[in-house]
């Protein structure tokens, strides 16, 4: 994989002021993510994983510290500029899918491109079709979210995150609502995408999901306590090893 740094955070701090108290969710976090990495961000509940991911996703700004995405320093950016960065450089996958109800899978996937002036409606259509193909749901393109299983909905959400060709895909507990089998299927998909060169940062608190990634950043109380590459297990193999559903 290449060595270009996609994400660089330096001494990132984030304080929340609630009434008279200050919650220090991040207390100085520094790390880089390079092109092609598949990083899991782990930690116990309340350790600041979501807070960190929101900042990485330009939804939130740090209290102090600097964050660069694709070479752009975020602290100087206006709200509108941040929207453009989210639109062009980031793909989000949420725990609860967040698809638009009563909107077809295809239209859900097209959504980010709707906010991009440079994409014509024909291109948008083609790109959305392609993204659905990558997650293996071409045959469900006209299905509404309520006609899809949770795993399929999450695949649509992944397709939506892929469609704008982001520099990084950010996922917050993307398998949190899914059973083991479906989680493994999603991880298989993410591994495939990673092999194709996609950079992914994946928040989870489950070690048996994190083991499919190639690097783990461990957070505790707003500090990075461990940041080490690991040898990723193959999700496809783990999926094959699961007892099949027909057994009972």
């Amino acid at each position: 994989m290449g060595n270009d740094i996609i994400i660089k955070v330096e001494n990132l701090k984030r304080d929340f002021v609630v009434g008279s108290e200050t919650v220090r969710a991040l207390r100085g976090v520094s790390f880089d993510i390079r092109q092609g990495e598949f990083v899991s961000i782990m930690g116990t509940s309340g350790s600041g994983k979501s807070t960190l991911l929101n900042i990485l996703g330009c939804l939130d700004k740090p209290t102090s510290g600097e964050y660069y995405i694709d070479g752009i320093g975020i602290s100087q950016c206006s709200k509108d500029k941040l929207s453009v960065i989210r639109n062009r450089k980031i793909g989000f996958v949420f725990q609860s899918y967040n698809l638009l109800a009563r909107t077809t899978a295809l239209e859900n996937v097209e959504l980010p491109l709707m906010y991009n002036h440079n994409v014509s409606s024909k291109e948008r259509h083609e790109m959305a079709e392609h993204a659905l193909e990558m997650v293996g749901l071409s045959n469900r393109r006209y299905h509404m979210p309520n006609q899809l299983s949770g795993g399929q909905q999450q695949r649509v959400a992944i397709a939506r995150a892929l469609v704008n060709n982001p520099v990084i895909i950010l996922a917050d507990e993307a398998t949190g609502n899914l059973d083991t089998r479906t989680s493994y299927e999603i991880m298989t998909l993410l591994q495939e995408l990673n092999l194709q060169g996609k950079t992914i940062a994946f928040v989870t608190h489950e070690p048996d999901i994190a083991c499919f990634t190639s690097r783990t950043v461990m957070l505790r109380d707003g500090h990075v306590i461990k940041d080490a590459p690991i040898e990723p297990k193959s999700a496809a193999e783990a999926l094959a090893a699961l007892p099949s559903n027909e057994d009972y």
Partner: protein, 405 residues
């Protein structure tokens, strides 16, 4: 974001909740329909007044006795200020006056055989028919000879014919009685319809003024003088001439009030249309209140929508929608609601005013201005009442919005 995309998003959002969209629109529909129909009906009534006034002759001048005199109010019956001599003087002296007729009138019961009908008899000169634009359907007008001999002859209107005669009878040549006085019908007037005051102009008996003065009322003064100016433009000049002649006739000193009143149809027209114009404005004002209520309905629903779709807003923001995009999306929704409502309302309003003016047999007027204005008002309503909810949506924090349940 492209306009087409915006419209598409707004449209899909509205279609997700058809019933609610429809009910919200109903407010606007009712508001616009009532504004349109009120304005249109107001204008129809104005036009119908104008038409009926010009059907009685726009150059008509009426000289009435003045009922107000200094000191005691002696009641209008006893005001005897208008005489035949005044009529003669005007005819001689007023160059702008074309035709002139003394007028005395009395109401009473018309009797023929077993039928009877309450009506009014107008004692006039031979010129009256032309001044008031009455035409004869059959028979002839009376002559100077009839006037000189106090002849007991009369012309009758259609309403009188309908009430005293069988449908297949020819009234001309027949005798009827006005109270105790027998009169011969020598002509029947063409139907004329109602005048601007809603009076039936066909419920009339016309006779020589001398007959009415001497045989019915036993008076020697006139109730009124009816005249016509040589043209509509000459009306004001004719009025001035009549006023100065009458003041001289009545020997009024400078500074003394007139003991007569000169009225013209043009004045009537102005007065009536200003009254109905005011009514139109009043009705339109009341109707626009319902439009405001409709607008508030939109605002209410937009607030609900924004709250309901907080999560969607968060998602859109997280994938790159700017505050402005979100704002436009919701503004677009409220504007679509009000515009569709407005179009339906305009159509409904036009239908209502068409049916109403048909039933009232008024002319049907479509005021392009009011239609165009309603359309603008609709769009403005959508934007105005959609503004705050949209602003609220746009200012949401994406993280909180995404977390919203």
């Amino acid at each position: 974001m492209r306009l087409y995309n915006l419209l598409k998003i707004a449209y899909t959002a509205l279609m997700r909740n058809k019933m609610r969209a429809m009910l919200t629109m109903l407010g606007i529909i009712i508001g616009i329909a009532s504004v349109i129909s009120m304005v249109s009906l107001g204008q129809s009534s104005q036009l119908s007044i104008r038409e009926s006034i010009s059907s009685t002759g726009t150059n008509m001048i009426m000289v009435m006795r003045a009922f107000r005199r200094p000191g005691v109010n002696i009641g209008n019956d006893n005001v005897q200020t208008l005489k035949m001599a005044d009529c003669v003087a005007i005819r001689k002296g007023a160059k702008n006056v074309d035709l002139i007729s003394p007028t005395v009138s009395s109401s009473g019961q018309l009797i023929r055989g077993s039928k009877n009908w309450p009506s009014t008899i107008e004692g006039v000169s031979t010129e009256f028919l032309t001044i008031r634009k009455y035409e004869l359907e059959s028979g002839t007008n009376f002559t100077e000879e009839h006037i000189n001999t106090y002849a007991k002859v009369c012309l009758i209107g259609q309403t009188v014919v309908d009430n005293l005669f069988e449908p297949d009878e020819n009234p001309v040549g027949q005798d009827i009685r006005f109270g105790k006085i027998p009169m011969k019908v020598i002509g029947v007037l063409k139907e004329k319809g109602q005048n601007q005051m809603g009076q039936d102009q066909d419920d009339i008996v016309i006779a020589p003024y001398t007959t009415v003065q001497k045989r019915i009322l036993a008076i020697d003064y006139l109730h009124m003088i009816t005249a016509s100016a040589v043209s509509e433009e000459a009306t004001d000049a004719a009025v001035a001439e009549i006023e100065s002649i009458l003041r001289a006739q009545h020997r009024l000193l400078p500074g003394e009030d007139d003991d007569f009143d000169v009225r013209t149809q043009a004045e009537m027209l102005e007065m009536m249309s200003s009254v109905s114009g005011f009514m139109t404005i009043l009705l339109a004002a009341i109707a626009s209140i319902s439009l405001i209520v409709g607008g508030i309905g939109i605002m209410n629903i937009m607030y609900v929508t924004v709250t309901e779709r907080t999560k969607e807003i968060g998602l859109r923001m997280s994938i790159g929608a700017k505050g402005r995009d979100i704002m436009l999306q919701f503004l677009c929704e409220s504007t679509i609601l009000s515009l569709i409502g407005g179009v339906i309302g305009i159509i409904l309003g036009l239908v209502i005013s068409y049916v109403a003016s048909y039933l009232l047999s008024w002319p049907y007027v479509v005021s392009q201005a009011s239609v165009a204005l309603s359309f603008v008002v609709c769009a403005a309503t959508g934007i105005f009442f959609g503004w705050y909810p949209a602003k609220k949506a746009a200012s949401l924090d994406p993280i909180n919005a995404l977390r919203y349940e």
